[in-house]
């Protein structure tokens, strides 16, 4: 297992480097440059500007600039925001926990929907339950998160007036009251993200379970006289989860995309809304750093999926 882990890590590092190359290429190809702020400032004479560029290494060959940028990123020197002049790293660290909590909670909700519904539907294929679940799953992942978000606000905040539609980071309450307020304002964003993912995963789980349920080892387990619940839990679900983990890992970029939209709708102070606000404010250092953080998050979740994969299917970790 340890060896397997190290091998997966060795695969993750080149992909992270690949992503950094892509990011840097995009930035290098982009017209205009980070010195636009100075270029449009008439108080700075051209020769001062040229000297500044040279001293900051902006005229170096591109590969030198890439490595300089990469090492700076790795050392945690992510620069300063053009707008607030605060270090970018601090800005992101402030907001990252909120994003992770909302995403984590919504993934748990998605699992709580997808696993039981998918398994129940697959053990009774083409039954009424299966057909309803399948149709609802299609509806669920055809509803874009931005539309469900607005519908939820309309229903729960405006018509029913049950839940607040703006997420507040600093609630002036303590103890149970604080937890209660946080719970109340997290319900809608978590539901929006969780239902969307849950709908997609239900279909994955259903088709994976359907594939496994026909296999011989399941028939063997049944003919040994094992109770059905045990057959489903130990012999079917565990094997069916292997392809599901892969598909879920492939969905991670979509999950983060959905998180950006949800944060924007409910005004959650996470890194997604930081990205949007810094794009609207032309704050290049923050935009680059947040995109990089999203890339790291995707790779990290892929790594976690790989570890799960090795745990679910021991054959993989021995290969």
């Amino acid at each position: 297992m340890t060896q397997y882990l190290i091998r997966r890590l060795m695969i993750a590092i080149p992909s992270l480097l690949g992503i950094s190359v892509i990011l840097f290429t995009i930035l290098a190809l982009a017209p205009g440059d980070p010195f636009e702020e100075l270029a449009t400032n008439p108080a700075i004479p051209p020769d001062v500007r040229a000297n500044l560029r040279a001293s900051l290494g902006l005229d170096d060959p591109i590969h030198q600039r890439y490595f300089a940028w990469l090492f700076a990123m790795l050392r945690g020197e992510w620069g300063y925001s053009f707008v607030s002049r605060a270090p970018v790293g601090d800005l992101i660290l402030q907001r990252l926990p909120t994003t992770l909590v909302v995403i984590g909670a919504s993934q748990i909700l998605a699992l709580c929907i997808a696993l039981p519904v998918g398994i129940y539907a697959a053990t009774r294929p083409y039954s009424i339950f299966d057909q309803i679940a399948n149709t609802l799953a299609f509806v669920g992942f055809s509803l874009p998160t931005f539309f469900t978000g607005l519908l939820f606000i309309l229903l729960f905040s405006i018509w029913l007036d049950w839940l607040p539609f703006i997420y507040r980071a600093n609630i002036d309450a303590t103890g149970w009251r604080w937890w209660w307020e946080h719970l109340r304002q997290s319900i809608m964003p978590v539901m929006v993200l969780g239902l969307f993912q849950g709908a997609a995963w239900t279909r994955f789980v259903r088709s994976a379970v359907l594939d496994v349920i026909r296999l011989d080892h399941v028939t063997t387990a049944r003919s040994k006289g094992l109770p059905e619940g045990r057959v489903i839990r130990r012999h079917i679900v565990r094997n069916a989860l292997i392809p599901v983990v892969t598909l879920v890992a492939l969905q991670m970029p979509i999950v983060f995309g959905g998180a950006i939209v949800t944060e924007q709708i409910f005004r959650i102070p996470g890194i997604g809304s930081l990205l949007i606000s810094s794009i609207l404010a032309n704050d290049t250092p923050v935009i680059m750093a947040v995109t990089f953080v999203f890339a790291i998050l995707v790779i990290t979740f892929n790594l976690i999926a790989d570890i799960l994969y090795g745990w679910l299917d021991p054959r993989i970790s021995y290969r």
């Binding site: 080149p14 992909s15 690949g18 992503i19 892509i22 990011l23 995009i26 930035l27 982009a30 017209p31 205009g32 149709t135 299609f138 509806v139 992942f141 055809s142 509803l143 874009p144 931005f146 539309f147 607005l150 519908l151 606000i153 309309l154 405006i158 492939l250 991670m252 970029p253 979509i254 983060f256 995309g257 950006i260 939209v261 924007q264 709708i265 990205l275 949007i276 794009i279 609207l280 032309n282 935009i287 680059m288 947040v290 995109t291 999203f294 890339a295 998050l297 995707v298 790779i299 892929n302």
Partner: protein, 315 residues
């Protein structure tokens, strides 16, 4: 296809042999259509989709209210006979804007799908034919693109390149090219993987061997013999890609970073409507429903096509 005739013959031992001989030749497309019809929801959704496409293509000629006819005396009105879907905060007719926006959203969806499928087929075909190091390198690239955070990168690229491109070809076309190119550029990976897998299995088949023995050139083998047989899964993936591209474009517009404000795409309408939800819910609901209906019907049509085009499924 040989497998499917065999299976149906064994499943129906009572079928008269004479009937089989007299049965007219059924082409693969006709056979696919027969299977597609069995998926009732898919057929219903194909009709809905066709109606939606017809509506956005022909609608603006029938409903001739201009999309930017500002009338402050009639702002934020609910649905009425004059304005079947109501008006927005400037008194503009929402039906006209939804019809116009549908053109853009659907055009982006289909164009981005074409980009994604072309790149995917190219990468998959090269990897599948070349094998070895080229294949390994291309698959590494595919995996890398699969783990890119799509939406942040879309936003980053549009942020960095929008001004330059709109300066060259004008704001509408510039944003259109950018959005189509970038969405297509981030969606080719599943197609590439599918095509590569198909190529690996097809290039060892006897009919390809026969073509090779007859002296067919490599491009001819790929274009005439392998590609047509690899098309089924690609068509299914392409259908799903249209839906995904429509959602991606609407997401960008919803975040206020897609098309310029005077072009009312569906996502843009929602973006403008979201701060007026409490007193003009119709403004958000109708464009949202348009996106939902389009994406839902495309997804169901894709599901029906999967049943129809997958020769392994014998029904």
């Amino acid at each position: 296809m040989a497998g499917s005739t065999l299976a149906s013959a064994t499943a129906n031992p009572a079928a008269p042999a004479a009937g089989q001989a007299a049965r007219p030749h059924v082409g693969p497309w006709k056979e696919a259509w027969r299977r597609f019809r069995k998926h009732r929801l898919a057929v219903v959704c194909a009709v809905i989709l066709a109606l939606l496409i017809l509506a956005v293509l022909v609608g603006p000629f029938i409903w001739t209210v201009p999309i930017d006819d500002i009338d402050f005396t009639r702002r934020l009105e609910g649905p009425s006979w004059d304005h079947p879907l109501g008006t927005d905060d400037l008194g503009q007719d929402i039906l006209a804007r939804v019809l116009y926006g549908g053109r853009i959203s659907l055009a982006v969806g289909f164009a981005a799908m074409l980009v994604a499928v072309s790149v995917g087929v190219l990468v998959g075909a090269v990897a599948g034919m070349a094998g070895g190091k080229v294949d390994a390198a291309l698959m590494w690239l595919t995996d890398l693109f699969l783990s890119l955070p799509e939406l942040p990168l879309l936003l980053l690229i549009i942020y960095l390149f929008r001004d330059a491109l709109t300066g060259v070809v004008g704001p509408e076309l510039g944003v259109f090219i950018l959005i189509v190119g970038v969405i297509g550029g981030f969606r080719w990976m599943p197609v590439a993987r599918l095509v590569r897998a198909q190529f690996f299995s097809l290039r060892e088949k006897e009919f390809v061997e026969a073509a090779r023995a007859l002296g067919a050139s490599r491009p001819r083998i790929v274009v005439r013999h392998i590609l047509p047989n690899a098309l089924g899964p690609v068509i299914v993936a392409a259908t799903i890609d249209v839906a995904a591209a429509i959602i991606a474009e609407s997401t960008l517009s919803f975040l206020g970073l897609g098309f310029p404000p005077d072009i009312p795409t569906w996502g843009r309408l929602l973006f403008d409507a979201k701060d007026n939800l409490d007193f003009a819910p119709h403004w958000a609901i109708f464009p949202g429903l348009a996106i939902f209906l389009t994406v839902l019907s495309i997804n169901f049509v894709g599901d029906g096509l999967r049943d129809a085009l997958d020769p392994r499924r014998v029904k």
